[in-house]
Symmetry: C2
Amino acid sequence: NVSHGLAWSFYLGYLKLVLPHLQKSVEKLKELNGAVLKGAGPTRLHILLPLNAAVSSRPEVDDPNVRFHAHLPPLEVDRAGVRGRVFKNSLYKVMDAQGKPHFCVLEYATPLLTLHQMSHESSAGFGEAQRRHQVLLFYRTLRDILESSLQCRNLYRLILLDDQRTHEPHYLSTEIVRH
Amino acid sequence: NVSHGLAWSFYLGYLKLVLPHLQKSVEKLKELNGAVLKGAGPTRLHILLPLNAAVSSRPEVDDPNVRFHAHLPPLEVDRAGVRGRVFKNSLYKVMDAQGKPHFCVLEYATPLLTLHQMSHESSAGFGEAQRRHQVLLFYRTLRDILESSLQCRNLYRLILLDDQRTHEPHYLSTEIVRH
Ligand SMILES: Nc1nc(=O)c2ncn([C@@H]3O[C@@H]4COP(=O)(O)O[C@H]5[C@@H](O)[C@H](n6cnc7c(N)ncnc76)O[C@@H]5COP(=O)(O)O[C@@H]3[C@@H]4O)c2[nH]1
């Protein structure tokens, strides 16, 4: 089951590593100039999950109210023979409907890119019809893993994006701000 | 099927991106001082696949004849909302049985780390008994994907490592040199 493995891989190989370091990374960031991050409590990674797995490299393309602001200081880890493998997150400035800015760390769930590309490779074994089902399975598996994780408690927000609504010009920023 | 998805993810999200750039990256590397890479033909990524999924962060731990030499110049790509995501490979100096050095780009297949960790998480759904089977399935799926890939043709070496032989002090360097 493709999504089951991708969700576990996303957690074990990435989220478990980076989420506990987010708070410290953000505190080192001069570009914030004392600006406060969205939401009370610890710094959370906002993980965007489009139901149609249509992941953009830059969210500005989906909604100009979501703007890249700064890189967080990177984490460097020796991993599986790759020396100093770099894990670097992106801080965004999200404008709400009143024009007020909200700063938050966000990205799309990268494994959805794999699901999208696999659905176009005939030898990969599944097509566009099963893809939506795989995205939902990925979301539910990831949600369950994260809810049971002590290391990642309260350090994330999972944001499911309905492709029936992506034509709305500020759907993305609205969803991020309300989560 | 966990390994099927991990092999596709490894290809679509990583190998397809980095392998075509390896040759150019190596040519920019001053630390080689004109030293020639192992093997005639294009620069290949040597991918280590231990059958027991026991992936080390540093191969020196498994065989002191495998030594980190230099970082290749990184590739930076905007991907899924992560701006300037860094892909950086490691060049190693591998001493053979005659003490002659061979330079090559190598790493363990990182998804095997996921398999290893999943086999210890009860809620992930498989244990150590199925793990060896999953590693073999990962290897065969990856081999088939890479053999049909036009972009990655001849740019890799898959090196299966038999855990029955890892007690031999220079098993790793010997396997790398002979592939
Ligand atoms: N947003 C984001 N930023 C990251 O730095 C990152 N690193 C991993 N991931 C995602 O976490 C999961 C676990 O990663 P793992 O390393 O086991 O597999 C990785 C790994 O085997 C290989 N790979 C990807 N990036 C690198 C890299 N920079 N160096 C070496 N190997 C890499 O290719 C697989 C698939 O990568 P992605 O398809 O980008 O998504 C991964 C994956 O879903 C990331 N996601």
